[in-house]
Symmetry: C2
Subunit: 413 residues, 2 copies
Amino acid sequence: MSVGIRHDDLRKRNRAMVISAVRRAGQVSRTDIAATTGLSHSTISAISADLIAEGILAEAKGAEASTARRGRPQVAIGLNPEAATVVAVVLLFNLLSVAVVDFSGRVIAEERKKLSTFDLSEEELIGECIAMVRRQTARPAAAGRTVLRVVLAVQGTTDATSRKMLWSPITTHEGIDFGGRLEKAFGVPVTVENDCNMIAVALRWHDPDRYRDDFIAILLSHGIGMGLVLKGELFTGTHSSGGEFGHMVHRPDGALCRCGRRGCVEAYAGNYAIWRSASGASEDEAPVSDISADDMASLAALARDHDGPEREAYQKAGEALGYGLGSLFALIDPAPVAMVGIGARAFDLIEPALRSAIAMTAGGQHSKAISFATYADELPLITLGCSMRALTFIDAEVLAAGDPAASRGRDVA
Amino acid sequence: MSVGIRHDDLRKRNRAMVISAVRRAGQVSRTDIAATTGLSHSTISAISADLIAEGILAEAKGAEASTARRGRPQVAIGLNPEAATVVAVVLLFNLLSVAVVDFSGRVIAEERKKLSTFDLSEEELIGECIAMVRRQTARPAAAGRTVLRVVLAVQGTTDATSRKMLWSPITTHEGIDFGGRLEKAFGVPVTVENDCNMIAVALRWHDPDRYRDDFIAILLSHGIGMGLVLKGELFTGTHSSGGEFGHMVHRPDGALCRCGRRGCVEAYAGNYAIWRSASGASEDEAPVSDISADDMASLAALARDHDGPEREAYQKAGEALGYGLGSLFALIDPAPVAMVGIGARAFDLIEPALRSAIAMTAGGQHSKAISFATYADELPLITLGCSMRALTFIDAEVLAAGDPAASRGRDVA
DNA sequence: GCTCTTTTTTTCGAGCCTCGAAAAATATGT
DNA sequence: ACATATTTTTCGAGGCTCGAAAAAAAGAGC
């Protein structure tokens, strides 16, 4: 059962609330914080004085005299960028990316590199990650900073404790303990997250007006992934990493999916499925392992140019996505959808069939109210999501505790 | 954003925690409460003294000398049955039921009655509910008790604030404001809940070992409903009452559903669908409005007796449920399933096809781990769910506040 | 039957925390 | 300059939880 509230938890929670209010607003006055948190001015004053003394927050000296009003002017408080540093690692198919991020969320060092994930051994995959993190944290811009946390995003499923990558399409190896290995290498907490979940986290920070309490991020790529936020919280399974939207059943006993089963949404809407369908191959044909962005772009161009098998393939994809979303919206309330990744570049080809399919479902009752936005590039979003995940964790767990020892990270370089 | 914790919230929350610990355990000692809540003995002592003084809890005088151990014996604390009274109203197709329940959850007055819901006007439906509640709260057993809350369960969808019944298969009237009307009549808070959600709530209290943090209740009746508990909380939509499992899409453009669309799970697994299929009618044929329990029993008997269209109809139902659950389990982690209602009596006919269908899906990876239990009768569960919903609300909101005025209910008779 | 041991429950003072009111600080308007 | 307006800090009061110690209430041993 949920545990009682100890007296000392009180301060910790309220400190966390203040930090979170500042992170969300960027620059806020104490008065504003008091208003959003519902705490009294005196409490906010005391807490923010502590946080400033500890170097977590800082008063803005830049004093951009906002609206010249009467009375004592508000003093803007912001995050102290040097309070902590985190690292976002993104490991995708044939691509590794690392970003070192300061406490305010600014990227201070970054690298990305192509590699053949499928040909690398488990040790090599781990080694590449560790090496790139060391390389970037050692750069002058990041020198002297101590990293407090590392978040690694991967395609595929992770375990409930966010320590292992259970399965991923980028490699044949299973159950790689990235969390444990990276923690051992760096001496700071490391979590492994699903790429689509990080996209969802990122969207909230990227566009809080549109992506507030309930929304859906769908990654249209070689496979189909989903990140779901419900009631303001990332929706993940209790045991695994969460919603395998791509493997909901579109047509029982239908097209062959990469997962070996039949009729999954992905088996109609994944890049390989669109390619297979456009090339006139049988739905029983085994999926190809990869299709370049250029090839997909050419395919989309053909589909836009004339009515033919290419256009039909995109329509089938739209239909599968529409029925899938319809079934999803039978379970949850309709919400804004973000289409992310290469497939989103061809969303114009997908949308009509998607909309008419969703209109045929119970979930699509208000299908006109469901709005779609597209984001062609997933990597920046995944990186942003990892950074914010790491930072908000530090906000809540490390800095809110107010234990100076805990905020002393390690020099991971 | 979530609001800060005021100092006076502390006591309220911890009081709520103590009450909830006692409700769950039935009879517990202060030491046990301290252990489960994590609060200190002194705090528990102070809080329980208050609660006993306020007549919310009571020391068990019965003193069934548990295990004769050394040391001062534990004093068992339990709920004081007379601390509050609530009413559970269940309005189903052609059936109305009312139960008056004391603070410990015991039913002290009960009535159920057949009526033709489809033929009644909106006013008559509301009137029947009010009349039966008045009748039962006026009975000697419940006399003198003051009711603190009423919870009404209905089939169909409710609004986000649990005040209105938006749509229900039991009547043609839409948007009936049961919440408002009953509150006006009785002068105490009234909420309107979905029947399947109440079944889910009930199962947690009925068998906490099996139905703990994650499980699914599926109502197999004329239609198909679902109640879902994830991470210990009832899963409901932000706007409507929640998971319309029965209207997930099983076969795009498939059999005609009661909702007017095509291919829903319900259009294969609802009573009317099984009946239609068994009678050899076309999938395009409009669903009949009701089938008696006896007729369904005869149908099941025929199906058990020999291989024919009846048996095949149940197989189709199993297949639809299996693929539906497979898609659901793609989104959430596999969890125990409770099959409730008339359809559960024929689960032996449904299960084989259900299991082979679910095994074809991604969600069914560990299909052997998914266990099914059946409950032939839904009404007792719905009533229990309503009672517990009302009582736990009172625990958390009314009694935890410690405001004597708030705990003075109204005599609704 | 008396004392010792063990376990539960209560009591009591210390230490925090938040709050409201008042004071201090720091602007603008006139 | 002085009045006004607004933000921020200060300060004492009241409450809450905690740990330690005391009190209560049994069984165990002789």
